[in-house]
Amino acid sequence: MKAIKRIQSRTVVLATKDIDTDQIIPARFLTTTSREGLGKNLFHDLRYNKDGSDKPDFPLNAATAKGCEILVAGRNVGCGSSREHAPWALLDYGFRAVISTAIADIFRNNSLKNGLVPVVVDDDLHQYLLSKPGIEIDIDIVASTLTLPDGRVVEFPIDVFARHCLIEGIDQLGYLRNHADTIQSFEEARSWTP
């Protein structure tokens, strides 16, 4: 994973609550054996008409949304299926951070492992962000802060270990493998075997 310390970008807003991973990437696109190229099918059924043309009222299709790297989503984004294809699709499209008041558990874990930064904010700030699509935000992962266009600086919670892995680009598998001896000792010392 590439180290990621700072994201400066305008936002795109999808205000709907409970955007599940089936909406982020429908199941029929999961028959791939690669993690590349999923961005074109991100939010497929919300984003495209039946004939493949863009739905004009979907926020990602607005001209101003091009190049935006921060998605502001309604509460409980990423609920449902454990498919890692959801963060893969968001990243492949160009997003690097997702902001909401609540982010579903498995989706958050999957996002962190791929360098998509989950940012949880309080209701007041969320309402502000939902009401102002397209504003420029500066996310400083090292300091765990958001800086808003009006100069406000707001801290956001992030697991210390997850942050360390993001800013140093640490591969968690490598970290786990460094514990190989301890894992072996654990297996040998167990009172029962699975």
């Binding site: 999961l30 028959t31 409980n76 493998r177």
Partner: protein, 466 residues
């Protein structure tokens, strides 16, 4: 005297390889890793890139369920696979299992089936284990008093390579079920009511432990239905403490210990309960004495009402309105106001033999309504064989339903079994998300009995009225 512990504390403590600190999560050992064709190819590619073996192929069990066809043909091996992508994924799975020495219950295996159905069926799922799978409904296995949860593909790779995961310890929530369930109301109705109560994110960050006499009186299949949908409340996992019902279910299954080892295992499993003095981070109590059969009306499993209740009004909530618009349902009217197009009985939630029995008991001697398509998909090939031995397939076919091979099928709609755009489906599966069963498909979640009754009348129907 040791400190009082919850069941979850005991499971957690027994699997900590390296304890968690403020700076790092715990290294947690995994006892059983179930893998399927859809969420693993990229993990195996990573192992190949890094030149790593699978650390414990003996603790890894593979099958194919998500994108596999369910069309009944004489030779399963010759089944057409709906899309090139799915066919490629299945071939890839066969190669990955061969190359890495993993047992595959693939085509041709009489034990093939949905990941969360075959684990328990084989007795590979046992109390006291940690169990993971690249599938969110892994919470199903918690019915046995195992800590079981869904993971992403990167974590699948971690388990394949190290048999461990990096985990922060979740919080615990007791779900106390007060009273006994009324007749004609099922485990599916209970879990839908629980999700309605705590909401689709109410369980986020928690492991739910289901408690109370109603849970104790449930058989293992009912307990699995409850734990299966824990994820639909956002929970990390669901749990039920093992008891004699659990041990009786497991006894004699192919992968459980035998003889003296069985006795030792049962003794160990009997200690897997929450101590009387232990406390939970949160507790919720639900009185089920007046519980109705439950159905969903919206686009997440928390949007749930009694089968005869009117669809609620959206008020000022735009997300709620969006859901009602998608579902094309009328606030103030019960769901029976709308005619249905499809009925699906199956999935890891309700594709087990007792689910099929309940549906068949309603359907016996009836025909499904004109214009309704009904698909019955057993959760495993074992269940299919057992259902056929009991003559259930004949009841389904006589009623006008299609009887299929095992798989996830119309729950996820990856294999060609889909609900067409705009069609209204009553489904025993676990997700009524927009497009889950097919583009534009409208899904009502229900129990097998409600689904079968609805198939007969062609409208959402209270099974107690048949």
């Amino acid at each position: 005297m040791t400190q009082a512990s919850t069941l979850f504390d005991k499971l957690w403590n027994d699997h900590v390889v390296v304890p968690e600190t403020p700076n790092a999560p715990a290294v947690l050992y995994i006892d059983l890793h179930i893998v399927h064709e859809v969420t693993t190819p990229q993990a195996f590619s990573l192992l190949r890139e890094k030149g790593l073996p699978v650390r414990r192929p003996d603790l890894t069990l593979a099958t194919m369920d998500h994108s596999t066809p369910t069309t009944p043909l004489a030779s399963f091996k010759d089944l057409p696979i709906v899309a090139d992508g799915a066919a490629n994924q299945i071939r890839q799975m066969e190669k990955n299992c061969r190359d890495f020495g993993i047992e595959l219950l693939g085509f041709g295996s009489e034990h093939r089936g949905i990941v969360h159905v075959i684990g328990p069926e084989l007795g590979a799922t046992q109390p006291g284990k940690t169990i993971v799978c690249g599938d969110s409904h892994s919470s199903t296995h918690g019915a046995f008093g195992a800590f079981a949860f869904g993971i992403g593909t990167t974590e699948v790779g971690h388990v394949l390579a190290t048999q461990c995961l990096l985990q922060r310890k979740p919080k615990t929530m007791a779900i106390n079920i007060d009273g006994q369930m009324p007749d004609g109301v099922s485990a599916k109705d209970l879990i839908l009511a629980i999700i309605g109560e705590i909401g689709v994110e109410g369980g986020t960050g928690y492991v739910l432990e289901y408690r109370g006499n109603a849970i104790r009186s449930f058989n293992m299949e009912q307990r699995m239905t409850v734990c299966n949908m824990s994820i639909e409340a956002g929970a990390r996992a669901g749990l039920i403490a093992p008891d004699d019902t659990t041990f009786e279910y497991l006894h004699g299954r192919p992968r459980v210990p035998r003889g003296v080892d069985w006795d030792k295992a049962v003794t160990r499993w009997q200690a897997l309960r929450t101590d009387d003095a232990a406390t939970y981070d949160k507790s919720v109590t639900l009185d089920v004495r007046c519980l109705q059969p439950m159905v969903t009306f919206g686009t997440n499993p928390g949007m749930v009402i009694g089968v005869n209740d009117p669809v609620p009004d959206a008020g000022n909530d735009p997300s709620f309105r969006k859901a009602l618009d998608y579902m094309q349902l009328t606030p103030g009217k019960p769901l029976s106001h709308n005619s249905i197009d499809v009925v699906f009985i199956g999935s890891c939630t309700n594709g087990r033999i007792s689910d099929l029995e309940q549906a068949a008991a309603i359907l016996r001697g009836h025909k499904i309504a004109a214009g309704v398509r009904m698909l019955v998909v057993p959760g495993s090939q074992q269940i299919k064989n057992e259902a056929e031995a009991r003559g259930l397939d004949i009841i389904f076919k006589k009623a006008g339903a299609e009887w299929r091979e095992a798989g996830c099928s119309m729950c996820i709609g990856m294999n060609g079994d889909i609900v067409k755009p705009g069609q209204l489906s009553v489904s025993t599966s676990n997700r009524n998300f927009e497009g889950r069963q097919g583009i534009g498909a409208r899904t009502i979640l229900a129990s097998p009995a409600t689904a079968a009754a609805s198939a007969i009348r062609g409208r959402v129907t209270d099974p107690r009225s048949i």
